[in-house]
Symmetry: D2
């Protein structure tokens, strides 16, 4: 027996016999009054959303719900389900595929935050944005939030989300900023790159006060329904062990017939 | 170039340039009309919920939103965040702690399905339930859905969820079944074991037609908000590397001073 | 500050300022004297292997080192690397694909342990083995350790491992048992099913005193080199985001043009 | 049926019926002749190590084998095992804790590579190293490879590994470079920071031609034995669900008694 200080301190929730609070609200109130979307907003932001914020937030999550095989998560989830037959393993593999190239709303948000500075999104000049985009291009880097491998002429989710934003009158200074940035991206690159849905809702979540980690979490948690659906469908299809077809592999680069000689010195 | 059949077939969603459907619905309709909860229901069930189902489903997800340090997920997530500083890794660790002992709604549902048979929940006899519970006890196994390490006199989430079910008039034959089972569990064990929230909503999701994997997925996805909040709080607290305090470890069982002799034969 | 008992107790290792022991051996001795294979054996078994055990153990690990695209791990690892660009995420996805259908040495070992009983492997009768195999067949279950999707006429790793066992004179009562079982499997199924390498080394690790979890761990850890090589090759090939080709997907089962009507009652 | 190019191309291994090669070597030769350490070296480097390289490489892996509770991996693994009872989930959680703050050999190597330039480690000037260290300090960043939370007066693994390097006559230009850097780190920081084992073997693996990803993989794979031993010990100790003791948590920051009012506008 030793005397020790607390190992953890938290501002998220308190749990004791017969009593649970989330961000200071009794769990009974949350269960009676909050949707899953609102519970997520509350846990990440420590406050309840306004009606407009909640409407846009739920729409953002719906945007992420599934994108079929046009991302890395569904395939990773299916392969792992096929090998392991363990649902949490498949869900984990799907979400682990998020990062540099999948789920880039938070990268867009970080870019906007870096551009924005303390004076807010309206104070960003076109010249600063153009310099930033030219800098990325000069280093051969992707511009987060722009371009899509499938939706080259427009991301239907971005359009639908924009309609929700307009429909409920949600004011979006960061949305206005990314639209200005979009025009500059097209001019500088000379290409008709789309604003993709991740880029757009990265801006919207900045309007709601979310930080980079919270935006990334929204992106990933929003995608869990599709990851789960693919894992479960994989099991239901009953194939025991998924292996890519032999013809799908090129072995041209494997060296041939090396001899296991005496060890090199 | 080879001719090959499709590697994957799916009934979940279709994605092509400028067009996405989820379970046959245009993504624009889902974004405009569905909450995150409804999108999850749709992807797992291939149909839209009724108004009552959706109300109960959102409440179930809110029940799972966070349970502080009274489970394995938050701690796993925090340790991994502390070491890796990579949010998806922390989220994955949190959800990977779900299984035999964490997130047992699907195990409760499987037990009810095994008891139920083809004639539905009303046809289950008390004798069959008692025999099942005695069988588990005889083999020293836990009874899924009953008992809780913290909420020994009643799980506040189960009470609040029950109020939602009653409030919206959701008919729950499997809820009635698990209440009957609860009485038998108390009689057979001689202990005042609570019906925990996982057990209760496992029954409710059976009423909505969910299978075991989908129920497990709801349990896990519902818990992602809390897992994310803990991971993010861990980073914000700024501690570089979490290590349990030296006094928290007993090394009594480590052997002492073994000699690295010649190899045993 | 509170008084508390230790949270963890361990027999594995002790770490203090300037001092580390593994299973009671000074870390200096382990570093000076043990290969990676011996360090793994020591940590899992709490003793040093004999020379013969170590030779066979290293060969078992080499058997697992990589199996190209003929398993689920390499593909899962590559998709996750492609999306996340985070090496630990890719490694985790690869190992998470181990389970019911990938890495079945421990399932073979559990089957042998169940057959064996307290009198050892020599006491198992042919009748008991035949009854067990017929039981699995009757329930439509796979027989762990037998059959292979690619190596239908013989698993080259099993042959090579057998040569190592013979070459160093390692006595293997459980290897003899699984060879007897192999003959019965062929007779009962009427098919020329191979003994695969997982099945064979599951038996060998029983000879060394490993339990089911430790055998599974050997299988998985042995496979980490290949998982890592694939993840790294994926990054080096420089493709930004791996997506299956559109033609690889059949969308025949996705429903068409459902209308987002009023909510169902 | 469609005509498609290969989805994957690889230089790692080739697998066909009855035939497996790793980096061009027949699997039979690898199983007969390679230790687990050599198989890992071969897969990551596409060549066999020299005798000295292999001796040092095995010692590096032994250095990583376990570090008890003085890292994040063991605890993460134990919590996940306790909740999930699924060994691969626990192993994945342990390795996912590697990253920015755990397993920093590759970060040290990247720093040395950035300092080194094309002229090799001998050409690095003291002035360049000092400027680099002052730069890190100025930005409040940690110096990879230096300092240890437990081994403040010397990392016993680094000492033991150094003895192996000297004992087998392995020439290490990058080891010499990091020793020079060590002196500068102590002078610039005014603190007696140790060179930790990760920092030292990061340099040694550069001598063998490994890149950053491969060095990170060696660090992680080397740690898998300890992660597995902790997961298995957790199961064997038979505790059903690990939860931190109530006294280990401070709830001081959770807000109190917030009222679930009408939604904010």
């Amino acid at each position: 027996m030793t005397e020790r200080p607390a190992d953890f301190s938290t501002a998220i929730s308190a749990v004791g016999p017969g009593r649970v609070t989330l961000r200071g609200y009794a769990i009974e109130d949350v269960i009676a009054g909050a949707s899953a979307g609102e519970a997520l907003f509350l846990l990440l932001s420590a406050r309840r959303p306004t009606r407009q914020e909640l409407r846009v937030f739920e729409a953002i999550l719906a945007c992420c719900a599934d994108h079929g095989f046009a991302n890395t998560a569904a395939v990773a989830s299916r392969y792992v389900m096929s090998g392991s037959a363990h649902l949490p393993a498949a869900l984990a593999a799907g979400l682990l595929s998020f990062g540099q190239n999948t789920g880039t709303a938070h990268l867009t948000a970080e870019m906007l935050l870096a551009l924005r500075g303390p004076d807010g999104p309206e104070a960003v000049t076109d010249a600063a944005m153009e310099a930033h985009i030219r800098g990325l291009r000069g280093r051969g880097l992707a511009i987060p939030g722009f371009g899509h491998p499938v939706h080259r002429a427009g991301d239907p989710r971005e359009h639908a989300l924009r309609a929700v934003v307009a429909g409920c009158g949600f004011a979006s200074p960061h949305g206005a900023l990314i639209d200005r940035l979009h025009a500059i991206v097209r001019r500088v690159t000379g290409r008709d790159l789309v604003l993709n849905v991740d880029g757009f809702f990265g801006a919207l979540l900045l309007d709601m006060g979310f930080g980079s980690d919270a935006i990334f979490a929204v992106n990933i948690i929003g995608a869990m329904p599709g990851i789960a659906a693919h894992a479960i469908e994989e099991r239901e299809q009953g194939r025991r062990l998924r292996i890519p077809p032999h013809d799908a592999i090129s072995y041209d680069d494997v060296p041939h017939d090396r001899t296991w000689d005496a060890r090199p010195e």
